[in-house]
Symmetry: C2
Subunit: 378 residues, 2 copies
């Protein structure tokens, strides 16, 4: 499978077990067979995108089961012109399911993912529940698809801010080595769910109308204090840990090491929420191992890397932006420049849709990779 | 003069030449004497704040001349209950002026600052026109007030994003040494002027109403392309240089070295505009020279440093925010934590009102320091 194919994101009819698909104009079309797929958290910000991504990429689905909390059960969702009623997620919901995509919060995953596995499903979990479990592969297909072979039923989808960074860093590591990463993030509100986006919109409107705002959700719904996100930058995503870093920052640090198989890599992160609905941006400083690398070499590497779209022409003011990345599949990289003091140091600006490559798309790509590598089959 | 006094920002009646002031409840009160002060760019975002700061700090003013372009001349501005009519700035406007505060753009400063100096005024210039001129002191009073003694008529006020960073870094450098700085900024739109704030508000309203936006000002009015700032993050402030850094980034790099007298300091910057009206935030990574420093030591240093307000208690979700810093004089520092890999590396979050300490307040503090050091007197 060529990088080009990987980049535009379809799976090729490479194996006999896929003979039930026919390949028409670059799209895999399901004919009369496919997988029973379940989406857990189907009404949430990520779940909604998962369903859209499955449809847009024509994922081989024979049956689609949409699951949620009892509160959202009964809602109706369209998929390929058919109406599917969302059901309450229970252990028995996973009977007959081949692939279960979870994005309903860590506690739901901890409770129901083992139940799904017990019933024969492979779970692709988009929460942090299992990410650092040594028994669970943590996968970004462009980086470590081969880790899927070690799965024991559950595969973890990394944190949104981690995924886009490692997609950009991995091809650089392969060619130039990688010693160090320091990242500061500019994260979108949709990473905290639909309610947080509503809060951003409501606060923004209230401020423009001269009204007082009453923050209730961000930075962390379950935390003690809430702060205005409209026209602000909040340096807290998820709860604080004893070392002064937030859990989001520790996710970026630990997940990057695990995905890239670099336990000794020096990684630091500062994670900040800003008033953007969709699209995480990241200011990434990194040091390579090789000496005397120039910017053009890094641009060339990234221009031909799977999943990466190079947008880097300062003379024409071309650089990635959240507004242009939103709704797109790629990881957009630009503003690549050499540090003025460190020969091995470089800076770049990495942007991606946090609900797509940062969550739903990566989960579906994991499922596609499972099929492509014949780890799952009908 | 104690640090405490410096922090809350008034000047003390320390010398006989100040005998015309009387000290009442911590405020210097002008009785019957003072300086002839001119504000150039009096109707702009920074100029407006300069006038407010002069009034709030009861700066010793005998006469206040407000100057602008011909377009804004004729506007009326209140100062201490009196109405002052703004006049067009011309060379002869500076006759009899003691201190001229410039904030009307680099070309106006280049044209008129020498005219003001020729007529006996000391110019405090808030543009980038003279900042890197070796003959011109570039001053943040908490850091290098002594440099004012070398002035030859013009004193430069540093870039907003530089000022707040060096106020936080200098006390650390004094006690622990400083080897390296990597900063990513989250900069407010008011740094680009009133028009840019109007653009942010207009775009935000249009998007909430489902209308299309037509960017016209940001990221740089004079540049070729303009991008949406509402619900976005733009990694361009000022024009691009040949090395791939923007001029704003080079200002932070070069000005930091000049103000701190550390020409060999390793400094890198990524400057990003976010949809915040007022208050720049900065994610600052720095490496000290001393080994085995802990976070408490840095917190203790900053807690007693002039101009710094420590807001750092993760357990209580206390950290600086643009919304709480706006309108205040301090440089707020929090989220101080030790790097997990580098013993000498630390991270912090630095926030300040970009129009106050980042511009108007620092200019007025320079003027106060000139009086305090008897560099200017009546």
């Amino acid at each position: 499978m060529s990088n080009e194919n990987k980049r535009i994101g379809f799976i090729c009819p490479i194996s006999s077990f896929l003979k039930s698909f026919i390949y028409v104009e670059g799209v895999l079309t399901l004919t009369n067979s496919g997988f029973h797929v379940a989406v857990v958290g189907a009404t949430g910000a990520v779940g909604t995108q998962m369903i859209k991504v499955l449809e847009a990429r024509n994922f081989p689905i024979e049956k689609l089961t949409l699951l949620s909390s009892s509160r959202s059960a009964g809602k109706k969702i369209q998929y390929k012109g058919e109406t599917i009623v969302v059901e309450e997620a229970k252990p028995e919901s996973f009977e007959g399911v081949d692939i279960a995509l979870f994005s309903a919060g860590g506690s739901i995953s901890k409770q129901l993912a083992p139940e799904a596995v017990k019933r024969g499903a492979i779970v692709i979990d988009n929460t942090s529940a299992y990410r650092m479990d040594p028994e669970v592969p943590l996968v970004v297909p462009e980086v470590n698809a081969e880790d899927l072979n070690n799965h024991k039923g559950i595969i973890a989808n990394p944190n949104c801010s981690t995924i886009q960074m490692v997609v950009a860093l991995e091809p650089i590591r392969q060619k130039l080595g990688l010693n160090r990463v320091i990242v500061s993030t500019y994260q979108a509100v949709s990473g905290a769910g639909f309610q947080a986006v509503e809060e951003l919109n409501r606060q923004t409107k209230d401020i423009l109308e001269g009204k007082e705002v009453k923050p209730e959700i961000l930075p962390v719904k379950a935390d003690k204090k809430h702060y205005q996100i409209a026209f602000n930058a909040i340096p807290q995503i998820d709860l604080f840990q004893d070392n002064g870093f937030t859990f989001e920052e520790m996710k970026m640090i630990n997940e990057t090491k695990k995905i890239m198989h670099l336990p000794e890599l020096k990684v630091s992160a500062t994670c900040v929420r800003i008033p953007v609905a969709t699209g995480h941006s990241e200011s990434v400083y990194f040091e390579v191992e090789k000496e005397n690398v120039d910017v053009a070499e890094i641009q060339n590497i990234l221009a031909s890397s799977p999943g990466v779209v190079l947008e880097d022409n300062p003379n024409e003011q071309i650089y990635p932006l959240a507004t242009t990345a939103a709704g797109k599949e790629g990881v957009f990289v630009g503003r690549i420049r050499k540090d003025l003091d460190e020969d091995k140091g470089f800076h770049m600006w990495v942007v991606s849709d946090n609900l797509l490559k940062g969550a739903a798309l990566n989960s579906v790509q994991i499922a596609e990779s499972l099929i492509e590598q014949r780890i799952v089959s009908k």
